[in-house]
């Protein structure tokens, strides 16, 4: 069976997998962003705490994804929970690192000006520091998303959702008629999704980065 023929007969299944893949990555990114920015906000003021946060999240990233999921299965079981946990953990590093760098990089005289005109700690963070650190944070989110696109495929190992299922089925049945087509379809699907998400981030950047600081 040719690849195009494979696509047309299996498109239903492929679309479902692609949708689940995208949805899993999206949801995990939302969680990772919230947690990552929170960690950064809590730690960027102290030298050691910020460094600890970056080192820890970096350490997580060095664990092979298959191994991490393998370790999570006995604790969380199969399916969605280990997938989400793994993806969120992997997604943290770029966000935490960029958010800390971004927040620390906000011009000290602006922060002092904010204090000087009577902004409270929270107001300063929400109205001055985070908006000014937003461009690097968004870059972190973007990098993180690209990474999770690939890593999410591994989730199929833990019976997770997504295009990884195509790839794993293909690998498991190497030599059979459709094996190569399955691997190819899964991989290409991930690439297409990654490109689509990236385009989405460009749009989000346009919409959310204030004109006054857009490069």
């Amino acid at each position: 069976m040719g690849f195009w023929q494979f696509l047309s007969t299996r498109h239903q299944q492929l679309l479902v997998d692609a949708y689940q893949h995208a949805s899993a990555v999206f949801q995990c990114m939302v969680i990772a962003t919230v947690i990552g920015v929170l960690i950064a906000v809590l730690t960027y003021r102290t030298e050691w705490a910020g460094n600890l946060a970056v080192t820890t999240t970096a350490a997580i990233l060095t664990v092979p994804s298959l191994a991490l999921i393998g370790l999570l299965i006995p604790i969380l079981g199969l399916g969605v929970p280990p997938t989400v946990t793994a993806l969120v953990l992997y997604g943290l590093l770029p966000i935490v690192r960029n958010a800390i760098v971004g927040l620390r990089g906000v011009d000290a005289s602006l922060v002092e000006a904010a204090r000087g005109i009577g902004m409270s700690r929270t107001a300063r963070l929400l109205r001055v520091e985070l908006p000014l650190a937003w461009p690097p944070i968004l870059t972190g989110i973007r990098v993180s998303t690209q990474m999770l696109m690939g890593i999410a495929a591994i989730a199929a190992y833990a019976s997770g959702p997504g295009l990884g299922n195509e790839i794993f089925t293909g690998i498991a049945s190497l030599g059979s008629a459709n094996a190569l087509n399955e691997v190819l379809a899964g991989t290409l699907g991930i690439i297409v999704l990654a490109l689509a998400f990236d385009a989405g981030y460009v749009l989000i950047g346009r919409l959310t980065i204030p004109r006054g600081i857009r490069g």
């Binding site: 005289s109 602006l110 002092e112 000087g116 902004m119 006054g212």
Partner: protein, 449 residues
């Protein structure tokens, strides 16, 4: 106009030089007019000290000073002497290690600093505008925080832009990076004043702009202050700026010790010690020019005719021989051209083509320094003085300027001699007194007027 405010301030400060007079000036100006802007509040610093951790010597040591309501006080001194630290302790951006701060009737040493800062305007060197907010959003920040309604905030933003000389329609929606340095500073000042605080703290606000813009901004501040009567504490290391803006100047030495706290005139003519005279530095004569206005010197008459005059009578006037030169005025009696005797002949009787255009004029409120500048650049060695609507009043020439400067310097020397004795007394008195200069020792250094 701006200069007039300063002149007026200078005169009052000279007249009311004792602490007992401190209310005179602001009451005279009628602060707290109902419905008008909130005018200044007294600031009292009592033994303010700041110790930074890890440094046994305090950065600021036991500063006491009283700043009167509606007064502009300049803190000036060498780099690192603690000017900024002292200033920032007033709005508690830096928490004092000990001492008290009172603003108006309130002891603010221990109140919520966020609340305190909303009542104290703050403007800094880099303008401190938030780059991600428009000009309007920046200005609206404090009024919004203190809970003003939407329309009131919007009106206020327009009003403030107007006040600092920026067209609201044009600048409202701009981002800070779309403004020149001087415009950014203006917006910075507008933001600091937006919620109408009685006190305004400024830390080298004009330190980063070019000299000409700085001059404009200073004039602007003087003009604003004449209408607003805020209590302004202004940090600079530029003594000329201090002279120009200050009702009183506090010359600080290391650890913010007050070397002298007095009117600009008194500091120039009677520096308290070597340190102050060193800091005031050379060029005292030139600085003196900054303090004197054209209105204070003799404005000479000068033969002038308007262009409406028939050509024949102009020719007659020149030919009659009394005048070698005439000033030609335009229809509204504004100086237009200098006309020498041969000029008309050379231009074959055409007024339009003869004479030299008047390029510089000064008002009566201009400083002698401006007048000197104009005289030096004018080929005839004189400058035309104009009134409110630009109409011709008279001229000031090089000779007048030289005589005035000589007189002033002579007077200064006399004053200095007369008061050396008194100054010595003040100094011994100060040494006996444990608390450093509070209030105003200036009265002792003043010439009897």
């Amino acid at each position: 106009m701006a200069e007039a405010a300063k002149a007026e301030a200078g005169v009052t400060a000279e007249a009311g030089a004792g602490p007992q007079d401190e209310r005179g000036r602001s009451e005279g100006r009628g602060p707290g007019t109902p419905g008008g802007p909130a005018s200044g509040a007294t600031i009292v610093l009592e033994n303010l000290t700041k110790r930074y951790p890890g440094n046994p010597r305090p950065a600021v040591e036991s500063v006491s000073m009283e700043i009167k309501a509606g007064e502009t006080v300049i803190l000036v001194g060498p780099s690192g002497c603690g000017k900024s630290t002292t200033l920032k302790m007033i709005n508690r951006l830096i928490e004092p290690s000990s001492g008290r701060i009172r603003i108006g009737d309130e002891d603010v040493t221990a109140i919520d600093p966020v609340k305190l800062r909303r009542k104290v305007g703050y403007a800094i060197q880099s303008s401190g505008l938030f780059p991600h907010m428009t000009v309007a959003e920046n200005i609206a920040l404090v009024p919004k925080m203190v809970g003003w309604g939407r329309t009131r905030v919007r009106d206020r933003v327009e009003e403030m832009l107007d006040l600092v000389g920026l067209d609201p329609r044009e600048f409202h929606g701009r981002y800070p990076r779309q403004l020149s340095g001087g415009q950014q500073q203006r917006v910075g000042v507008a933001r600091a004043l937006a919620a109408d605080p009685p006190v305004l703290l400024m830390d080298e606000p004009f330190g980063a702009v070019d000299p000409i813009t700085r001059d404009h901004l200073q004039d602007e501040l003087i003009r604003l202050q004449r209408d607003l009567h805020k209590t302004i504490v202004f940090v600079t290391h530029d003594f000329d700026e201090a002279i120009k803006l200050g009702d009183r100047i506090a010359v600080l030495r290391e650890r913010s010790h007050i070397a002298q706290f007095d009117t600009p005139e008194a500091i120039l003519t009677n520096p308290a010690d070597e340190f102050v005279s060193g800091f005031v530095g050379a060029g005292a004569a030139l600085k003196r020019l900054n303090l004197t206005r054209v209105r204070d010197v003799e404005i000479a008459d000068f033969a002038a005719v308007t262009v409406d005059e028939p050509l024949q009578s102009i020719v007659e006037l020149l030919r009659a021989g009394q005048h070698n030169e005439l000033l030609l005025l335009d229809h509204r009696r504004r100086p237009y051209k200098w006309l020498r005797r041969g000029d008309l002949l050379r231009a074959r009787g055409s007024l339009a083509r003869s004479g030299t255009l008047v390029t510089h004029t000064v008002t009566r409120d201009a400083t002698l320094r401006d007048a000197l500048e104009a005289v030096l650049t004018d080929s005839g060695g004189r400058v035309a003085v104009t009134g409110r609507r630009g109409e011709f009043i008279g001229v000031v020439d090089m000779e007048t300027l030289m005589n005035s400067v000589h007189e002033m310097l002579e007077a200064d020397r006399l004053t200095a001699l007369e008061h050396r004795h008194e100054l010595d007394q003040v100094r011994t008195g100060r040494e006996q007194d444990a608390s450093p200069v509070a209030g105003d020792p200036g009265g002792d250094g003043e010439p009897p007027s």
